[in-house]
Amino acid sequence: MALLIIAVTAAFALALGLRAGRGRDLSLEQWSVGGRGFGSLLVFLLMAGETYTTFTFLGGVGWAYGKGGPAMYILVYLTIGFILSYWMLPPLWAYAKEHRLLAQPDYFAHRYRSPTLGVVVALVGVTALVPYLVLQFKGLGIIVAAASGGVIGAATAIWIGAAIVTAYVIVSGVHGSAWTATIKDAAILGVVVFLGIYLPLHYYGGIGPMFHAVDAARPGFLTLPPRGLSMAWFESTVVLNGLGAFMWPHGFASVFTARSPDTFRRNAALLPLYQLLILFVFLIGFAAILQVPGLRGADSDLALLRIAQVTFPPWFLGVIGAAGLLTALVPGSVILMSAATLIANNLYAPLTGARRDGRGLALIARGAVPVVSLVAVGFTLRGGSAIVSLLLMGYNIVTQLFPSFIWTLSRRNPLNAAGALAGIATGIAIVAWTTLTGVRIATLMPGAPGWVQDLNIGMVALVANAAVALAVSALTARRQPALAPAERA
């Protein structure tokens, strides 16, 4: 029954995507940035869609369940990102519109007059998008496997999820994502708010009694611990992720879809309110702690579906699964589309000299979709990381673009292309090394104060990135032009 509801939802989303994509021309600009004709509401939905992905739905519940207090970083980092967006996005939008830029690497290549930098930024973007796509597939796999009552294995469920996302992207493009995002957000809000209120009431008699019970059973679990995921980790992570919130290639793409720069200023005031609904996600996770104990490590991502299974009839598990499917399908499709656009526009075109305004490039982008999907499925089947850990890894990578980006908005950019390239390479090298070897600051500097050891390693990479970028630019001095005053916020 649950599986039937989820299958019908997937078919409905595909039909809606097909309908939204029909009647548009096949150019890459229409497929990827909607012809820059989206009004405030659609841009709001595309940007807000970032708030409610599988990361929040399953991962947020899982981290509240498994980590407690440190999960609160999810409430904060995008809010900091929205504050920055007020000043960052309008000049970016104006520059992109004036020069008809389609993707993030175009901006870097154009600003620094360096096609090489454009290719490097495209590679960084695609690399960062892979763990983000992996976590959507992982979430889809969890949902499909749980809804089938174990009949469908996790690996098969991941393949099914990936096939749905891939088909959706190929038929719809960004128009489909924007409209399905409306339904997705309505569905997920309904489910999350209901569960966030009902579960504490049902099991504990209210939200206050639930927190008292959790605090009594696990003292200190609801706050940030003195070591590990401590206050130093929390602050460095919310700042790092806040700076990186709009460095994602699909974050840039949602900026390019807007009709007017005032959209971003309005959204900077409205979107923080949207974050408050994450509170209900936490309530679900905290409610599950004493009701479905024993989920460890990456298995904590199962907390939401596990407590739903023991609380509700199978048909309602199907409703929850259907909402979960949409939270993976919509962001997953945007991520996949961004990766495919980067490959076609910023890797294939520069290397082959293909025209960037023809149907051929749109076909290349669509052809890249299943390839990226297959790579992500491969990583999903191999990896054992929790959903939140995957996104933290992606943020560590993509935020390395921030120093080179933010200085392009200054009156006098102290960086040149060589400096930007060296800085990005340094930051990415540190992130790659620490990710692959599992090295932490604590292992590198065992004598350092506790708060230094707990810092997010991505922040260390970011500081090194900026320092190297400045030093190399000073040594190879040839300044870049900054924005004209009229282009600034």
Binding site: G69, M72, L75, V76, T79, I80, F82, I83, Y86, G206, I207, G208, F211, H212, D215, L222, T223, L224, M231, F234, E235, V238, V239, D262, R265, R266, A268, A269, L270, P272, L273, Q275, L276, L279, F282
Partner: protein, 63 residues
């Protein structure tokens, strides 16, 4: 008006370490979680005020 943006940032980064405890519960929420919710609300209000002020300034400049 733009300096107001420092309020929520200070709330998140300076205030949170000062209230990193469970009690007293506020509206049923642990103190630290209630504080972060409050800071998010303040962010929204501050950004709306800045947006309004900027629009007024731009409109005056355009006349």
């Amino acid at each position: 008006m733009r300096f107001l943006v420092l309020l929520p940032l200070a709330g998140f980064l300076i205030g949170t370490p000062l209230v990193n405890r469970v009690e007293p519960f506020v509206l049923g929420l642990p103190l630290v979680l209630a504080w972060l919710v409050f800071c998010v609300l303040v962010t929204s209000v501050v950004m709306a005020l800045i947006w309004r002020s900027d629009r007024t300034r731009r409109a005056a400049g355009g006349r």
